[in-house]
C-alpha cells in the first residue's frame, strides 16, 4: 500500500502520572478499529506485567493504527508511547524526537502537575505541536474550564478548544481523533534524500536478534538494503522491515519517509543500536546524523548479591539476559567481605534500579540482597588524578584526597501552598539550594531547587509524598557536579566492619546520620544470644554506638497432651526467620537491613 505522506500522523501522548495516558491510548487503538473489544487487554501498550502493576511505562513502544476520518480519507496513526519517569528522560527525549506532535492529557480534577509541565516543555523543546486534552470530565469534581485556563496560563498553549473527554468512559474520543488530523502536523522530510532514520528504541529477540525501532526522517528503507549506524559505523543488511500492529510485528516491503517501524538485521547486541543514533544507507549515506544523540551513563549504583552464594552464576545469566533489552543497565563483578560475590550494577535512577531488581527476583526467581544505592562521586586526588567511584569501599584514603564532587539535579516540585513550608524544610534538610518559586495560581506553586542526587535517591520521593499528604509532585534533571565536603561512614557490627553497609555522606551530617543508622540497625537486627554492639565510624573514630541486647530467656510454653506439632511449628518459625538473615561474623543480619538502613525518614 502506497501511503501519502500527508496522511501520516506520528504522535505521542504525554501526561502526569495517573492522568489517563494509557487509557486514552487504549481508546484511540480501540476506536481506530484495529482491534475488537474482545482482543483488548486493559492496557494494550503496557506489555510487561510489572508495568501494568505500577501503572507506568518502562520501555518505549509504538503502535500503528488506521483511522477512517470524517472527511472519508484513511490516515495512518503512529502512536509512540514514551516512558513516564524521569529516570528515562533520555529515552523520552528520543521518542519525542520521533514524533511530530503530542497529545497533552490533563486531569480535569487535578490540573497541571509537575510532570505535565516537564513533559510539555520537553515536547516544546522538540518542536512538537501540542494538542491539549482534558480528561476525566465524568468525575464529579472535574473542573474542565478551570483546567483549560490553567493550561493556557501555566504552559502558554491554546486550550479553549481542547477536547473534553473521559477516556475511561469513552466520552468524546472522536474529537481527539479528528483533532489529531487537524491539529497535529504530517511529517515533513524528503522522500528522495538519502535514508535518515532515528532509533528510538530496540528490543532483543532470541531468533531475530535486535529489533530496531525507528522513525524515517528522510528517504526510505526496504528489505535487502545495506544500512549503517552513524555513531558506530557498524553496517548491516536489512533482513526484515515492518510496522507495529497492536502487540505484534507486521512485516512489509518498504518503509517510507515519515513512517515509524522496525527492522531486523541479525544484530547481536543492543550496544550496536543505540537509542538516538541515526540509521543511514551504507551506499549513499547522508551528510549529517540527526542531532541529540548521546551515550547515556548510569546515575545510581548499588551492589546486588545472591542470597545464596551458589546462585552467583544464575544472577550473572539473568543480568546478561536483562541487559539484552536494557542497554542502560550496567554491571560488573564485585566482591564484598560481608556478602561474598555479586555485582555492582548501574542504573538510570532509583526506579530503574527497583524495576531491575524486581524483575530479577520475579522473572528469574532469584533471592537478592541489595546494598544501599550510591551516586557516582568524583574524587580529585592530591596527585592531580580524578577518579569516579560508586562503591564506598573504593574510596581512597582521606590523605590522598584533595577534594570531592557530587552530582546535583535541578528539581521542580509542584505543590499546594499549604505545604510550602514543610517541603522547603525537607529540601533544606537534603541540602537543597533554593532557586525560586512561582505561583501557578493562588493555591499552587512550583518550588525550584538544586539538590544533591545522593540526597534524593533513597527516600526523598516517599518523604515528599508523606509530608505533603500526596499533594506534591516532583520532577528533576541532571544538572552537573559540584564540590562537596564528603566522607565515608563505616558501620561496625560486633566490632567487625561490614563493608556492604558503608556509605558516603555529607561531612556535616555524618554524626547525625551515623547515630540514626545505628538506631535503625538496632531495630533491624533481632536479638541474639549475645550483646551486639553497632557502631558508626569515620576512619578509626567511632562516632555513634548502639547495642542490641542479648536474648537471655525465652517463654516457657506448656506442651498440652503431647501435641508436638505446636513445638515444631514454633521452631520452624524460628528457623524461617533465620533464613532471612545473613551471617556476618557470628551475627545474623536481616537481608533487608542492607537496603533499609538508609531509609531514615520514617518517623
Amino acid at each position: 500500500m502506497k501511503i501519502n505522506q500527508d496522511h501520516i500522523r506520528n504522535f505521542c501522548i504525554i501526561a502526569h502520572i495517573d492522568h489517563g495516558k494509557s487509557t486514552l491510548a487504549d481508546r484511540i487503538i480501540e476506536k481506530t478499529g484495529l482491534l475488537t473489544k474482545r482482543e483488548m487487554q486493559d492496557q494494550v501498550l503496557d506489555n510487561m506485567d510489572l508495568e501494568r502493576e505500577r501503572g507506568i511505562t518502562i520501555k518505549s513502544q509504538a503502535v500503528r493504527t488506521v483511522y477512517h476520518a470524517d472527511n472519508g480519507e484513511e490516515y495512518i496513526f503512529n502512536l509512540i508511547d514514551t516512558p513516564g519517569h524521569v529516570d528515562f528522560n533520555y529515552e523520552v527525549s528520543r521518542s519525542l524526537a520521533a514524533c511530530d506532535g503530542a497529545i497533552l492529557v490533563v486531569d480535569a480534577t487535578q490540573g497541571v502537575e509537575a510532570q505535565t509541565l516537564a513533559n510539555a516543555y520537553l515536547a516544546i523543546d522538540h518542536d512538537l505541536d501540542i494538542m491539549p486534552v482534558i480528561n476525566k470530565i465524568d468525575l464529579p469534581s472535574a473542573e474542565p474550564d478551570r483546567v483549560a485556563a490553567e493550561i493556557e496560563d501555566v504552559i502558554g498553549i491554546e486550550a479553549e478548544d481542547a477536547p473534553r473527554i473521559s477516556a475511561k468512559e469513552g466520552i468524546n474520543i472522536e474529537a481527539v481523533l479528528e483533532g489529531i488530523i487537524t491539529n497535529l502536523p504530517a511529517p515533513s522530510g524528503d522522500p528522495d534524500a538519502p535514508l535518515k532514520a532515528l532509533i528510538f528504541d530496540s528490543l532483543y529477540d532470541p531468533y531475530k536478534g535486535v529489533i530496531v525501532f525507528f522513525r524515517i526522517m528522510d528517504g526510505s528503507m526496504k528489505r535487502g538494503d545495506r544500512v549503517k549506524m552513524m555513531s558506530t559505523d557498524a553496517e548491516f543488511d536489512v533482513i526484515e522491515v515492518g510496522y507495529f500492529g497492536a502487540g505484534q510485528f507486521i512485516p512489509c516491503d518498504e518503509l517510507q519517509t515519515g513512517m515509524v517501524g522496525y527492522m531486523t538485521a541479525s544484530i547481536k547486541s543492543l550496544g550496536e543500536t543505540r537509542v538516538g543514533d541515526t540509521i543511514t544507507s551504507a551506499v549513499t549515506p547522508c551528510a549529517q546524523p540527526l542531532p541529540g544523540y548521546k551515550k547515556i551513563n548510569p546515575m545510581v549504583y548499588c551492589g546486588i548479591y545472591p542470597e545464596d552464594s551458589a546462585k552467583y552464576e544464575d544472577l550473572q545469566d539473568a543480568l546478561e539476559k536483562l541487559q539484552l533489552n536494557d542497554a542502560s543497565l550496567f554491571f560488573e563483578p564485585e566482591t564484598s567481605l560481608a556478602l561474598g560475590f555479586g555485582f555492582r550494577c548501574g542504573f538510570l535512577g532509583l526506579l530503574h534500579l527497583e524495576v531491575v531488581t524486581e524483575r530479577l527476583e520475579r522473572e528469574y526467581d532469584l533471592d537478592l540482597i541489595t546494598t544501599a544505592p550510591s551516586v557516582v562521586y568524583r574524587i580529585y586526588k592530591t596527585n592531580g588524578q580524578m577518579v569516579e567511584i560508586s562503591n564506598p569501599s573504593n574510596m581512597p584514603d582521606p590523605s590522598e584526597i584533595d577534594y570531592m564532587e557530587e552530582p546535583y539535579v535541578s528539581a521542580e516540585i509542584m505543590l499546594t501552598t499549604d505545604y510550602i513550608g514543610t517541603i522547603m524544610d525537607l529540601c533544606q534538610e537534603r541540602r537543597g539550594i533554593y532557586l525560586g518559586m512561582d505561583y501557578i495560581e493562588q493555591t499552587r506553586a512550583v518550588l525550584k531547587y538544586e539538590l544533591p542526587l545522593g540526597e534524593i535517591i533513597y527516600d526523598f520521593f516517599d518523604a515528599l509524598k508523606s509530608r505533603s499528604r500526596g499533594y506534591a509532585s516532583f520532577d528533576y534533571e541532571f544538572k552537573g557536579y559540584r564540590e562537596s565536603k564528603l566522607c565515608k561512614l563505616d558501620i561496625l557490627v560486633n566490632h567487625e566492619k561490614v563493608d556492604a553497609l558503608s556509605f558516603i555522606v555529607f561531612a556535616d551530617s555524618a554524626y547525625d546520620r551515623g547515630r540514626k543508622t545505628c538506631e535503625k540497625l538496632k531495630k533491624e537486627i533481632p536479638r541474639q544470644l549475645f550483646d551486639i554492639p553497632i557502631q558508626a565510624a569515620i576512619g578509626s573514630k567511632i562516632i555513634a554506638r548502639e547495642t542490641v541486647k542479648a536474648l537471655r530467656k525465652d517463654v516457657l510454653a506448656k506442651c498440652y497432651g503431647g501435641d508436638i506439632s505446636r513445638k515444631k511449628k514454633l521452631l520452624e518459625k524460628q528457623k524461617e526467620g533465620k533464613k532471612k538473615m545473613r551471617q556476618i561474623g557470628n551475627v545474623e543480619i536481616p537481608k533487608k537491613a542492607f537496603m533499609n538502613v538508609l531509609k531514615l525518614d520514617e518517623e
Binding site: 537471655r552 525465652d554 506448656k558 498440652y560 497432651g561 508436638i564 521452631l571 524460628q574
Partner: protein, 401 residues
C-alpha cells in the same frame, strides 16, 4: 474394679530407660474437653457444658480405647494421663470405667503412673477419694497462682483457699504424687507477688512443680487485650526484666527446696519426674484418645478429630503424619534436649544407624563452643546447659534439618 490391683508407691524412674523406650510400651492420653468456663488465656480445645454429656463421652472414649487396642496388639500400658479441659469434672465412676477399658485392652505394667489434671474448685474430699480408688495415683493441680486477684483476672474459677483445701483433701485421700502448675508473667504480677506464690507452693512440698509463663495466644480474650498492644484499662504485663527475674527465681528456689529441673519447665523431687511427659520427650509410643487428642505410635503421629459430632461418628483420625527418618531425628534432638539428661549418642546411632556427629556436627560444635550445650564424650550424652535451656527455642531451631 481395676483399682484393686494398683499400688500406690511411685516407682523409681530409674526403672525406665528413656534412651531406648521399648517398642511395645505405651502411654495413654485421655482428653476431657469440658470446662466450667474457659480461662482468658486458654487456646486449647475445651468448652463449657452440662454434666449429662459426660456419660456419653465416657462411653465413647472407652469404645475408642477398645477399638485402638485392636490395632495395637501386645502393647503394655505404662502411663495414663487425663488431660483437658477439666478432667476432674468427671465422676470417679467415669474415670474408673475408662481405666477399666484400658486395663482390659492392654497389658498393664506393674507400676503404672496414672495422672489426672485437677482444677481446684471442681473437687472435694469424696471425689478425690473416688478418683484415688478408681486407680488414679498422681494429681496435677492447675493452681497457677496463690493470689486471688491474679486468679480472677486470668479467669480461673478457684481461690487460694479452695486450692489449699483441695490439696489437703488430696493428701488425705492418699495421693502421694502431686504436681502443682504455676504460671508467671501474669497481668499486674510483681516479682514479689510471684515469690509469695512460689514460696507458699514450695511449703506444701508437692512432689512436682511445673512452671510456665503466660503466653498471649491468638484467638483468646487475652489476645484482644494484649495481642497487638495493651488495651486501655488492662493490667500491664510484667516487663522482660521482671519476667526473667521470675524465671530465675523459680529455678533458684526450687533447687533450694530439693527439686531438680529435669525438663525446661518441670521440677521434681528425686524419682518423681512425670514419666508420662518424659515419654513425650523421649519419643515413646503414646495413644491419644478423646476429642482432639494427639498420639504417636511408631512412625506415625495422629490426631483425633476436634469436632464433637464427628467424634461420635468415626474413629478415623483427623490427621495422620508419617514421620520420615529426618523428622524423627529432628524430634529426637529438639524434644530430648529439653530434658536435663539430654540424649544418648549411642541410642541415636542405634535408632538411626548414623553417627550423630555426621548429622549434627557443626551445630553441636557451635553451641558447645558458645556454652549452650555440653557433649559428654565419656558418657556419650549431649545435653543443654542452663544457658542453653534459657534460650532453647533459638538453639533447638538449629536442629531442624
Amino acid at each position: 474394679m481395676y483399682s484393686s490391683s494398683m499400688r500406690n508407691n511411685a516407682a523409681e524412674t530409674a526403672d525406665w530407660n528413656f534412651d531406648d523406650l521399648p517398642e511395645q510400651d505405651l502411654s495413654l492420653y485421655v482428653h476431657f474437653p469440658y470446662c466450667v468456663r474457659k480461662c482468658r488465656y486458654c487456646d486449647f480445645l475445651s468448652f463449657p457444658c452440662g454434666e449429662n454429656d459426660f456419660e456419653a463421652y465416657t462411653d465413647r472414649v472407652c469404645e475408642e480405647i477398645r477399638f485402638r487396642a485392636g490395632q495395637l496388639p501386645g502393647m503394655r500400658l505404662r502411663t495414663v494421663f487425663f488431660g483437658g479441659g477439666t478432667p476432674s469434672l468427671m465422676q470417679p465412676q467415669q474415670a474408673a470405667r475408662i481405666l477399666q477399658a484400658a486395663a482390659e485392652s492392654f497389658a498393664m505394667a506393674k507400676d503404672p503412673e496414672i495422672t489426672m489434671e485437677c482444677n481446684p474448685g471442681t473437687v472435694d474430699y469424696d471425689r478425690l477419694a473416688g478418683f484415688r480408688q478408681a486407680g488414679i495415683n498422681r494429681l496435677s493441680f492447675g493452681l497457677q497462682s496463690m493470689k486471688d486477684d491474679e486468679l480472677a483476672y486470668i479467669g480461673r474459677i478457684h481461690t487460694r483457699q479452695e486450692f489449699l483445701a483441695n490439696y489437703a483433701h488430696a493428701r488425705k485421700a492418699g495421693f502421694e504424687n502431686i504436681n502443682i502448675d504455676l504460671m508467671s508473667a501474669l497481668p499486674g504480677q510483681s516479682l514479689a507477688d510471684y515469690e509469695e506464690t512460689l514460696r507458699e507452693t514450695l511449703a506444701l512440698q508437692p512432689e512436682h512443680i511445673s512452671a510456665y509463663s503466660l503466653i498471649i495466644e491468638e484467638g483468646t480474650p487475652f489476645w484482644n487485650m494484649y495481642g497487638e498492644k495493651t488495651a486501655e484499662g488492662a493490667l500491664p504485663l510484667p516487663d522482660e526484666d521482671a519476667e526473667r527475674a521470675m524465671y530465675y527465681l523459680t529455678k533458684k528456689l526450687c533447687m533450694q527446696h530439693g527439686y531438680q529441673r529435669y525438663e525446661i519447665s518441670n521440677y521434681a523431687k528425686p524419682g518423681r519426674e512425670c514419666r508420662h511427659n518424659l515419654v513425650y520427650w523421649y519419643r515413646g509410643n503414646y495413644l491419644g484418645v478423646g476429642l482432639g487428642a494427639s498420639g504417636m505410635i511408631g512412625s506415625r503421629r495422629f490426631r483425633v478429630t476436634a469436632d464433637l459430632e464427628k467424634y461420635f461418628l468415626t474413629f478415623e483420625p483427623q490427621e495422620v503424619t508419617a514421620l520420615s527418618e529426618q523428622d524423627k531425628m529432628e524430634e529426637t534432638m529438639f524434644l530430648g534436649l529439653r530434658c536435663r539428661r539430654g540424649i544418648s549418642t549411642d541410642s541415636f546411632r542405634r535408632k538411626f544407624g548414623m553417627d550423630i556427629w555426621n548429622v549434627y556436627g557443626p551445630v553441636l560444635e557451635k553451641y558447645e563452643r558458645s556454652g549452650h550445650l555440653v557433649c559428654d564424650r565419656e558418657q556419650h550424652r549431649i545435653r543443654l546447659t542452663d544457658r542453653g535451656i534459657d534460650v532453647s527455642n533459638i538453639v533447638l531451631a538449629d536442629f531442624l534439618l
